[in-house]
Amino acid sequence: MNPNAYLVLSGIIFSIGAIGVLLRRNAIVAFMSVELMLNAANLAFVTGSRVWGTLDGQTAAFFVMVVAAAEVVVGLAIIITIFRTRNSASVDEASLLRW
């Protein structure tokens, strides 16, 4: 099967994630969109790995997964901290860089 189909799929999912970051006001949903973009990048990595016939792409996707897991933990902790002080998880509320 043509590997470009996988790349196009990855591009579509990446774009939907980007639109989600731009559109959604809930910080958690915006964060989910970022995860979606990372997943799309992973799909491109795996496809590349298959096309070149080496496992380097899969290793890169593995590292992306690890970094994404670490990023989610810190990001969600930040969202919880902001929610505690502002009682809201909307990205519009936190516009002052303090409190």
């Binding site: 470009n4 579509i12 999912i13 639109i19 995860e35 997943n39 992973n42 795996v46 290793t59």
Partner: protein
């Protein structure tokens, strides 16, 4: 006819998995549906479940592209750990915290959608022709170390061992950082059970069990108010929903008579006993 179909299948996918296009279109379609569902659902929990659908389908696509280890890791790490962490945080933040639909920047939504469409078109045009070579088989790379997992392990602990070590530093930093961020400093000493009980009764409100509906009355259904010894209705005996629905039963004169008899010590039991004595 069957033989010609088989021949067609052979020609279209020489030596490779013949059901690949079918699985690709099924799982790819479901992944896109999940992503769009994430985008349009108003509640954050629904978004999280849609993203989980996308991630599971991407895991199938990884496995389809001879990356079984990543497929399993995707299910375990993303749908199992990351999305469930999202759901936990949603429980803390409030499940029904819906998105506000008010635009902070005027026309931002329209511009964002336009930019997204441009991005989709650009990426599809760009990526649609990126690989001109046919897919190489990963069999050689896999078989060099005995399998997919072994091959990735050889890369992780060989060529990329420094990055792997840095990743461990990153993970422990993230864990400590999350603990520091989510930690709440206690401003007042923790209240003990005894202090809580003292506070409760010092407030002066009635803390005993409430009278059940129908006490001193001829019925014990919840819509019958309890009567006080002087025949008046005890307000605290009425359940809130019953009062709100306005279905509280009226008190009969016979109930009031009964209350009077009991409160004067002329209960039925007593009179029966007197009769028995005679």
């Amino acid at each position: 006819m069957i033989s010609s179909l088989l021949k067609l299948a052979e020609v279209s996918t020489p030596g490779a998995i013949s059901f690949e296009p079918l699985v690709f279109w099924l799982c790819g379609g479901l992944a896109v549906i999940g992503a769009i569902g994430m985008l349009v659902s108003h509640k954050a929990v629904h978004s999280a479940l849609w993203v989980a659908l996308t991630m599971i389908n991407l895991a199938v696509l990884y496995a389809l592209q001879s990356a079984p280890f990543l497929g399993v890791a995707q299910v375990v790490v993303y749908t199992g750990a990351v999305m469930m962490l999202f759901l936990f945080v949603l429980m803390i933040v409030g499940v029904d915290a819906a998105d506000s639909l008010v635009e902070t920047i005027k026309g931002q939504r329209r511009i964002a959608i336009l930019a997204g469409v441009i991005l989709v078109v650009a990426l599809v045009i760009l990526l649609g022709n990126s690989f001109s070579i046919q897919t190489a088989d990963l069999v050689n790379a896999d078989s060099a170390y005995g399998g997919n997992v072994q091959g990735i392990a050889a890369l992780l602990f060989g060529k990329y061992v420094l990055i792997f070590e840095l990743t461990s530093a990153l993970l422990i930093t993230a864990a400590v950082g999350a603990m520091v961020l989510a930690h709440k400093e206690r401003t007042a000493p923790k209240k003990t059970q005894a202090m809580l009980a003292r506070e409760l009764f010092a407030s002066g409100t009635y803390q005993g069990p409430l009278p059940t509906p129908g006490v001193y009355a001829r019925h014990n259904s919840v819509d019958t108010p309890a009567l006080l010894p002087d025949g008046s209705v005890s307000e605290i005996s009425l359940p809130g929903p019953i009062v709100a629905r306005g279905v509280v039963k009226k008190i009969n004169q016979s109930d009031l008579d009964g209350v009077q008899i009991i409160s004067e010590g002329l209960g039925l039991v007593a009179s029966e006993n007197e009769e028995g004595d005679k």
